[in-house]
Symmetry: C3
Subunit: 258 residues, 3 copies
Amino acid sequence: MSLIAELPNAGLLKKVADAMKDLCKDVNFDCSEKGIQVQSMDSSHVALVSLNLKESAFTDFKCERPASLGMNVDSLTKILKMTSPNDSLKIRHQVDSDVVGFQCEGTDDRISEFELKLMQIESEHMEIPEQHYKVIAKMPSSEFQKICRDLKEFGETLQLSGSKEGLKFQVKGDIGSGNVLLKPRESEKPEEKVSLTIHEPVNATFALRYLVNFSKAAPLCGSVTLGLGPDAPLLVQYDLESEDKGHLKYYLAPKIEE
Amino acid sequence: MSLIAELPNAGLLKKVADAMKDLCKDVNFDCSEKGIQVQSMDSSHVALVSLNLKESAFTDFKCERPASLGMNVDSLTKILKMTSPNDSLKIRHQVDSDVVGFQCEGTDDRISEFELKLMQIESEHMEIPEQHYKVIAKMPSSEFQKICRDLKEFGETLQLSGSKEGLKFQVKGDIGSGNVLLKPRESEKPEEKVSLTIHEPVNATFALRYLVNFSKAAPLCGSVTLGLGPDAPLLVQYDLESEDKGHLKYYLAPKIEE
Amino acid sequence: MSLIAELPNAGLLKKVADAMKDLCKDVNFDCSEKGIQVQSMDSSHVALVSLNLKESAFTDFKCERPASLGMNVDSLTKILKMTSPNDSLKIRHQVDSDVVGFQCEGTDDRISEFELKLMQIESEHMEIPEQHYKVIAKMPSSEFQKICRDLKEFGETLQLSGSKEGLKFQVKGDIGSGNVLLKPRESEKPEEKVSLTIHEPVNATFALRYLVNFSKAAPLCGSVTLGLGPDAPLLVQYDLESEDKGHLKYYLAPKIEE
């Protein structure tokens, strides 16, 4: 086996696949001793999805030789749909084999096994430079999802501005215009907190439909982090349940105003 | 500001808009010092919708000059979908302005604002004479909805008859015929009671699809009141949560039997 | 009345009709002093549905003269949709009448009545010989449904094999192959148990879409019994809530391997 990777909860990979499937069709799962990574442009080449599933997320992880396992995300979600969230999941791949094996075992003596055919996918690994965002906002992931979905009803383009006043989501459309203003909010539950770090006010516009897609990753983590810079892509980051298991990041280029 | 109107719960207006949207496309919200009223024929000019949202339903209500605010009901529901049921909602309109503003504030420091473009809608205000119905029935609004929906599966025309025996909903169709008989029913919960007042037996027929639409107003109030007269339109009335906040009334002309 | 049959819970007949409606369009309900029976091939003449609703399932049952009542299953489900699960249901039929009457009465003084037009349906009563299955498996009906639905995503043909190892559901498709292995499982709740009786290993293939349809009968009973023989049709049996009320059996011919 070139790769044996065992997750305690199949649910984690299921949520990851669900969060990618509306953006990416076929992706390479790059396996190395550090864990599993995915980097993929969305099919319209506007957004970038970057997954880092750290070796520490697994109860057992051995990767003898780095390998890129090309999978169809839809097929992967079909396989993971069969698992119960608390089933353990073993992923196996032998050097040069054209299939990857999934074995999932529940507490109830049911064992499911799948072999998924691998695909050759042209890989375009990009170096994403570490950004120093001028505005960093952390907010409940369900609230981010609701704001994006609701504003999508009014128009296509979101104007996002971070300032001392708060984080403002604005949209203009045929029937009128609307905005939602979010202010810092304390809460005992970390996932209900809103925290804002404003080094410098930023104002940028983005295509709402990508944000609606990103925000579907909400089941992964109770909170989401947004990073805004004046000329930088927007960062939308979800930790994988907890920070030390890794993260799923989305990047979206701003719309250039005409 | 010619109008400032503040509702303690945005949910009330949301339920009102939802209850109108399948019948009316564009309506005038007539604002006066008494509150907000809507009167509108449905788009096929068979049914009449009449809303009375009393001044007392608002925590704050100022209307300096009567105004008719023409809105698209679908656009209004999109705006109200953004509110949480317990958000407070402020409606604002300036004399001669062509937009109406909605500001909604939750307990969680999130402020949403919308400006909806107003429309010029030809108004046809009808005087609805106070009727003395021969049969008055009060029943659970959810039960009325279920009966209408279920009978709709069998045919298009409902025969509604009130008599000493009870209130009978009858329908005939291709696969057979069916009826539901409702008798007076006591209950500690007012919304589970069925009460019947029969001054004179009445028997009339109505197009079921309108009743199915009316019955969608069930979330507004636990009970619904039906008023039947021999040659009068059917009245279907929902209080707005409680009677003193106002009501939403539907009127439907009987089908003439051939 | 040639037939008066009263069920304490309309819900039972509702679940039976729901379990038949995706397979059979029009069926004969054969009434005799023993109860009500249905035997019908599915519309593509591959599967057989066999219902036995015993006289003991009824609180009141009189059948003076055997009769075949031909009904459209869809129309029947529309009628039964009107009942609440705990309503009592009276079925009535007069000799030579072309309608069958359903009267349902709730605890809340609501009485619903329906007359369904009967149909003439060509009856093809088959004698189903009692089989001695080589493999008999009893498992949770919800789990059987989930396995069938999930595997249906991967391919059309299910390979079912019972052996000492357990009961194995296997499917091969374009994206890969998968299998679920079920082992005997003890539980205090009878509906969560898995029990296997293997007289002889059996291995046969079936069209998954029929199994998906059969498995929709899960609401009838917490557990389902599968019977497998080397050259026999697969038996999928649900008791009607309990064994003494009767059962619903499905038979499916194996696919011949080319």
